[in-house]
């Protein structure tokens, strides 16, 4: 089997350290966990992709309400199927790491919350977001009236140009006033 350090070349390791917010330990651990997810035929291939349903078996993502969105946002596959290469996986861990900046975290949070991928958060996105966070079954959902009230409160608070949607800079502005965001937006292997 060999040690994981020997499978990651020293140059690649140095490059990963420079381009992500992860430390050497975190990168090696990520490599170990990622190779466990790979199909045994692909174990030597540095550009191998892991399908989304295998990624979602990771205990850190299994119960996360945004797990599918996270995979879609960080995936670079052309088929948009949410599969991740090792570099996508490192991107994911880097954005969710302790040392990532507020800008990176808020940028990716915006993309995760943007369920229809159109670059803005409109009422449909906001409704899906609230349902994701409060429960999707019939008895745990908010009533239609409460939902409408909540969405209008959200838009009143953050929609500065009053176009009915929240764009990236409005989102980043409102998130920067939220003191718990940086410490909650964290996933550590």
């Amino acid at each position: 089997m060999g040690t994981t350090a020997s499978q990651l070349g020293k140059d690649s390791l140095a490059e990963y350290q420079e381009l992500t917010f992860l430390t050497k330990q975190e990168i090696l651990l990520a490599h170990k966990r990622f190779t466990e997810l790979l199909h045994k035929d692909h174990k030597g291939d540095p550009h191998a992709r892991v399908p989304m349903d295998r990624v979602l078996t990771l205990p850190e993502l299994k119960s996360n309400p945004f797990r599918k969105r996270i995979c879609h946002v960080f995936s670079t596959s052309e088929q948009k199927d949410g599969s991740l290469t090792f570099e996508d996986f490192l991107d994911l861990l880097s954005a969710f790491s302790d040392s990532a900046t507020l800008e990176i975290k808020s940028h990716y949070a915006f993309r995760i919350f943007d369920f229809d991928d159109d670059g803005t958060l409109d009422s449909g996105d906001l409704e899906k977001l609230v349902n994701c966070l409060t429960g999707d079954t019939d008895d745990t959902r908010l009533t239609t009236e409460e939902m409408r009230q909540l969405i209008s409160n959200i838009l009143e608070e953050s929609d500065i140009d009053k176009d009915g949607t929240v764009n990236l800079s409005e989102f980043q502005h409102v998130i920067s006033r939220s003191p718990d965001f940086v410490s909650s937006f964290k996933i550590v292997l």
């Binding site: 670079t76 609230v130 429960g135 939220s178």
Partner: protein, 603 residues
């Protein structure tokens, strides 16, 4: 499309790099002007996929080397520049390895992940804080043991204990008796210059070890405070029920299925509460406001008088203390102190229920301030008694103070265990069986962290009087971790409200530093500066004050050639007031520099 051709300096081959879009060109132009460190930080902060970042980095490195070559046709300059680049690169790699070395201490990592996954970040912050304090104590123990105790043990392995004293089990609790003559306390250390492989001056070793440790602690605390402040302090919105704050504070590190479901329920309840609050906003009438104000003032007066009462009673208990012949009686004062530390905060929590606060945050702040006042005044009274009465009454007074601190630490530990039992286990039993309305208790992070801070300040004060006290503290923190973990998982539920974990963390570090560390440092400094060391025991016997060892050393150094620079430093820097002024300026400057690190906004 723009093509940039350059020649590879090593192989001489021409390589072609393509800049595809104008956005990328603009980005590269912005990044080229930065220093290497800022450039790396900027690229890392780009919100692009890994492949794109690699591409930008490659383009930039070719672009930069092209520019350098255009402006530096002189080979000498090019070689110097390459050397400088290599040096700064190895410096950076060193920085990375330091960062990852800090993570190798894998103590408790899996347990903390389990706790974070089930209870969330705010409860986890208590355990992270505990682990951080443990590091301080491990470092302190290693330093003290290595520089002070080991030389003494090597030179004189058997302690000189008078013949009629033998080891009974009670010493573990009281710290007196057999332990008084051992290396546990100040009195067990000699003041000689040990001659072995090298000449080792015990006085200087004792003084400098403790001084350097305190200074390093202070620096570490200032840096943690600065970086935590920068990361977490945000001008918080006054409307704490804002919808975005509720939605954006979803804790991504929770991995337990049940905990996730509970969080979703709590969030739904909070959202519904905030919606109904907005619908019917209560306006208080003037008489109601006056009534609330009266209630606040009344309870503040009550808390302050409780604090004053505690302080006075401890002083009189100590002063009226009976001869210390019977060792068991000496446990009375620590017992009373710890009892007050246990009962009075519970009383404060009770007061909280009768007061009406406009926000949850103000409630926590009021509780924290009252608890701090209590603990600080208890410590102040004890230190006042030790410095003014004990120092004049006993012959080997530092050991007496060391023993008193040992007893306080041990009894405090026993009471923490009791507090866990009463605080969490009984609350759970009451909440589930007796009064179901109360429900399962939540883990009170603020109260527990304050208890840790108090315990740590006892250890800091005690380092001067009992160099091996950190060993006891290490054991205490170690056991406490497992105790709290078991108590948490068996008795508590995850917190219902998102309690501003990040800001509380900053506040706790600031509290650790500001009243408690600075207070402990001032007590130790006052002892070293003003109080006369005892005549018969310890490393500083016979001197006017502890600090005069440095003066004596300076006098000795006059005879040794080649050490003029040390004397110069002492005369012109340490003794002058300008030095301290400059130090304060440097500290403030570093603080501001950490806060204002340049940030590039891309994309």
């Amino acid at each position: 499309m723009v093509f940039v051709t350059c020649k590879d300096t090593v192989t001489g081959r021409a390589c072609c790099v393509v800049l595809c879009t104008t956005e990328e060109q603009n980005l590269v132009k912005e990044l080229v002007g930065l220093s290497t460190r800022d450039r790396i930080r900027a690229i890392r902060g780009l919100s692009m996929s890994f492949k794109e970042k690699k591409h930008i980095r490659l383009v930039l490195s070719h672009y930069v080397s092209l520019i350098i070559k255009q402006y530096n046709t002189n080979n000498q300059v090019l070689i110097q520049w390459s050397c400088f680049k290599l040096f700064s690169q190895s410096f950076r790699r060193c920085g990375y390895s330091i960062k990852s070395a800090r993570q190798t201490l894998k103590l408790w990592q899996s347990i903390m992940k389990e706790i974070g996954g089930r209870f969330g970040t705010s409860v986890l912050s208590y355990f992270v804080f505990l682990k951080w304090l443990l590091m301080f104590n491990i470092f302190s123990f290693l330093v003290n043991f290595g520089f002070i105790t080991i030389p003494l043990l090597v030179y004189d392995p058997s302690p000189n204990i008078p013949p009629n004293v033998s080891f009974t089990g009670l010493e573990m609790l009281t710290g007196a008796g057999y332990f008084t003559y051992t290396i546990m306390y100040y009195g067990g250390y000699s003041n000689e210059t040990l001659v072995g492989l090298v000449k080792y001056d015990m006085k200087l070793a004792y003084f400098f070890t403790i001084a350097v440790y305190m200074v390093l602690c202070g620096i570490a605390l200032i840096f943690s405070m600065a970086s935590s402040f920068k990361k977490n302090y945000v001008l918080a919105d006054p409307t704490s029920n804002s919808a975005w704050q509720l939605l954006s504070s979803w804790d991504f590190s929770i991995t337990n299925e049940r905990a996730v479901r509970q969080r979703k329920n709590n969030l739904r309840v909070q959202i519904q509460e905030s919606l109904s609050d907005k619908a019917q906003r209560q306006l208080l009438t003037l008489s109601e406001k006056l009534k609330h104000l009266g209630v606040y003032l009344g309870f503040w007066l009550l808390s302050t008088s409780l604090v004053v009462g505690c302080g006075v009673s401890i002083y009189y208990l100590y002063a009226a203390n009976w001869s210390l012949l019977q060792e068991a009686e000496t446990l009375l004062v620590p017992f009373v102190v710890s009892l007050m530390n246990l009962v009075v905060p519970l009383l404060y929590s009770l007061f909280n229920k009768f007061e009406h606060y406009s926000s949850h945050r103000r409630q926590i702040y009021a509780l924290v301030v009252r608890n701090i006042l209590l603990k600080m005044s208890i410590l102040a009274v004890l230190c006042y008694y030790w410095m003014n009465v004990v120092a004049k009454k006993f012959s080997c007074w530092e050991s007496v103070v060391g023993q008193a601190l040992y007893r306080l630490v041990i009894v405090d530990f026993l009471f923490l265990m009791l507090g866990s039992f009463f605080g969490e286990f009984l609350s759970n039993v009451i909440g589930t069986r007796l009064i179901p309305r109360l429900g399962v208790p939540e883990f009170d992070v603020a109260r527990n962290v304050l208890e840790l801070i108090y315990a740590q300040s006892l250890a800091w004060i005690g380092i001067y009087f009992s160099p091996l006290l950190p060993a006891i503290q290490i054991l205490k923190l170690f056991i406490l971790f497992y105790l709290k973990k078991v108590s948490l998982t068996q008795n508590c539920q995850p917190p219902r409200r998102t309690a501003r974990a990040a800001q509380m963390q900053t506040i706790f570090i600031a509290l650790l530093f500001f009243p408690f560390f600075v207070g402990s440092l001032s007590i130790v400094a006052y002892t070293a500066w003003r109080l006369t060391p005892s005549e018969q025991c310890g490393p500083f016997r016979g001197l006017n004050s502890t600090f005069s060892v440095v003066g004596v050393w300076m006098d000795d150094l006059h005879e040794i050639p080649g050490s003029q620079w040390v004397i110069w430093i002492y005369e012109n820097i340490i003794k002058s007031e300008i030095f301290y002024f400059l130090m304060t300026l440097i500290i403030i400057d570093t603080y501001i520099a950490i806060e204002n690190k340049p940030f590039m906004n891309c994309g």
